[in-house]
């Protein structure tokens, strides 16, 4: 960037830079689809294997017309959100419990380590049998993916809380609940949001794997069905929609993150009369 002469120019430069980046990002996306279409049309790529954007778009329109696309999206998003919320909040609550009972943590540590190392998708068939071959089963798979890692990472973040602040609270005779809500949780807001961001991806893996195994609806179902009948346009459409929704969910958390970070700077300075 050029060296700005004054603040106005600095802002102008910044805005120009931002527009430049966003336009290039869109350009890359557009070029990707354009080349895909072209390469299929000149028979460089096999349409049977990769389908092509125009066909996917036509399919997309027909799914919108029949309204079934929204059902699929709704089902998958719902399963993922429930999985994300249960997995993250339960994980956080357990981590808080462990933080206040070091003995319990020491007892459970090897089990947590094993459960964390285990590929949770391997458990998916069992979980579905236990919880039922319906939405409950899929949600449980989704929960299983984010739960353990949430416990382990929240716990280690809690451990890193500034000891001096905890000492201050102890000098003030604060009880555990006060220490938790006034120091440990507030000082870990950014960390909890970072965990949540990771959990969005994990919950989606759980949902899609669950839907692969048992489902009548959902994006995972579309992918599975499309693959089985060699409808690659259907699979590609599923993947593109999935990418879009996952991106939107991730961005939502980023926006929450930013709003928390900027809240205090927006805060209006009220001056107490002298």
């Amino acid at each position: 960037m050029k060296n700005p002469k004054n603040y106005q120019e600095y802002q102008k430069n910044k805005k120009r830079e931002k527009i430049k980046i966003i336009s290039i990002q869109f350009l890359i996306l557009f070029a990707f689809f354009l080349f895909w279409e072209l390469l299929v049309n000149i028979n460089f790529l096999n349409e049977f294997l990769v389908s092509k954007p125009s066909k996917i778009f036509i399919l997309f329109l027909s799914y919108i017309e029949s309204n079934s696309l929204f059902t699929h999206i709704y089902v998958s998003v719902l399963e993922t959100l429930i999985g994300l919320i249960i997995g993250s909040s339960l994980g956080l609550i357990i981590a808080i419990g462990l933080y206040f009972s070091k003995t319990l943590y020491k007892i459970l540590e090897p089990y947590l380590t094993v459960l964390n190392a285990l590929p949770k998708t391997a458990l998916a068939p069992i979980l579905i049998i236990w919880a039922g071959t319906n939405m409950k089963g899929i949600v449980l798979v989704s929960v299983s993916l984010s739960l353990i890692i949430t416990i382990i990472s929240s716990y280690s973040y809690f451990q890193l809380t500034d000891e001096n602040l905890i000492k201050l609270m102890r000098v003030l005779n604060a009880n555990k609940r006060q220490i938790l809500f006034r120091v440990i949780l507030p000082s870990n807001v950014a960390n909890i949001l970072a965990i949540l961001k990771i959990n969005v991806g994990l919950s989606w893996i759980g949902t899609i794997v669950g839907e692969f195994l048992v489902s009548k609806n959902g994006i995972g179902y579309l992918l599975m069905y499309g693959g089985m009948v060699f409808r690659l346009d259907l699979v590609m459409m599923g993947v593109i929609i999935l990418a879009l929704i996952a991106f939107l969910m991730y961005e939502t958390i980023s926006i929450i993150e930013k709003s928390i970070r900027f809240r205090k700077h927006k805060h209006k300075k009220t001056i107490i009369e002298e």
Binding site: N164, L165, K167, A174, K264, K269, T270, I272
Partner: protein, 244 residues
């Protein structure tokens, strides 16, 4: 003179996998109303442990500690919560102790005004200088109306110039609010500039090597004490006791 704090034959031992370490051995001293007492000793001799014992953060093994008043604790770091405004930070102690009332709030406001911080009440700690943050931290402690202040090397995190200003500040606040204070430090000039009595401590296990009564009037501020001829005499005295 009223006795605010008395330690009688206090003993403290720490246990670890490496064995036991006796940190404090048969320690006795008193702090009276309107005096500042300094504990000075080599690093790692267990000075801070004494304050932790008085504040009941740790239990002692033998002896007893008698406190006759509300105690305030001020740390090396300002320990302001970065997500709270200056005002909220100051109210923290009152809120936790469930002593927040119209009266206590008014008192806090009056402290803020008196010590020139009311303009900054809605600022966040990161927007203040190190010296001001330490002052906020002190007002948080004062809002609980303590009679005895425990100061755990409260100036050592500040740069050398700010340190002089904050020492002056703290001493005048102590005088203004008619407080007593127990100051833990390893800085000889700080101990002489601020206190009326200096207790010179030995390395582990901690014992009192020598008690030095300073002849200054207790209202004499640090800057004036530093100009006094006796200052360097006291400095040498403490230095020699510490090291030989």
């Amino acid at each position: 003179m009223k006795e605010l704090l008395s330690l009688n034959n206090v003993e403290k031992t720490f246990f670890s996998d490496e064995g036991e370490t006796k940190v404090i051995d048969n320690l006795s001293f008193k702090v009276f109303e309107n005096e500042v007492v300094s504990l000075i000793g080599p690093s790692g001799c267990g000075k801070s442990t004494i304050l932790n014992l008085i504040a009941k953060l740790e239990n002692l093994n033998k002896g007893n500690i008698i406190t006759n008043c509300e105690i305030g604790y001020m740390f090396q770091k300002d320990n302001l919560l970065p997500w709270l405004t200056v005002y909220k930070n100051i109210m923290l102690g009152l809120e936790i102790k469930k002593r927040k009332s119209k009266e206590s709030e008014d008192y806090t406001f009056s402290l803020l005004k008196k010590y020139g911080l009311s303009k900054f009440a809605s600022y966040y700690p990161e927007e203040l200088s190190g010296g001001m943050r330490q002052r906020v931290s002190l007002i948080r402690t004062l809002s609980l109306k303590p009679k005895l202040l425990l100061l755990d090397e409260p100036f050592s995190a500040l740069d050398s110039q700010t340190r002089l200003f904050v020492q002056e500040d703290v001493k005048s606040i102590i005088l203004e609010e008619k407080l007593s204070s127990l100051l833990v430090t390893h800085d000889i000039s700080e101990a002489i500039a601020l206190s009326e009595r200096v207790l010179i401590l030995s390395p582990r296990p901690l014992k009192i090597k020598k008690e030095l009564k300073l002849s200054y009037d207790n209202s004499l501020l640090p800057s004036l004490r530093r100009k006094d001829n006796s200052f360097s005499q006291y400095f040498n005295d403490v230095f020699n006791t510490l090291h030989y």
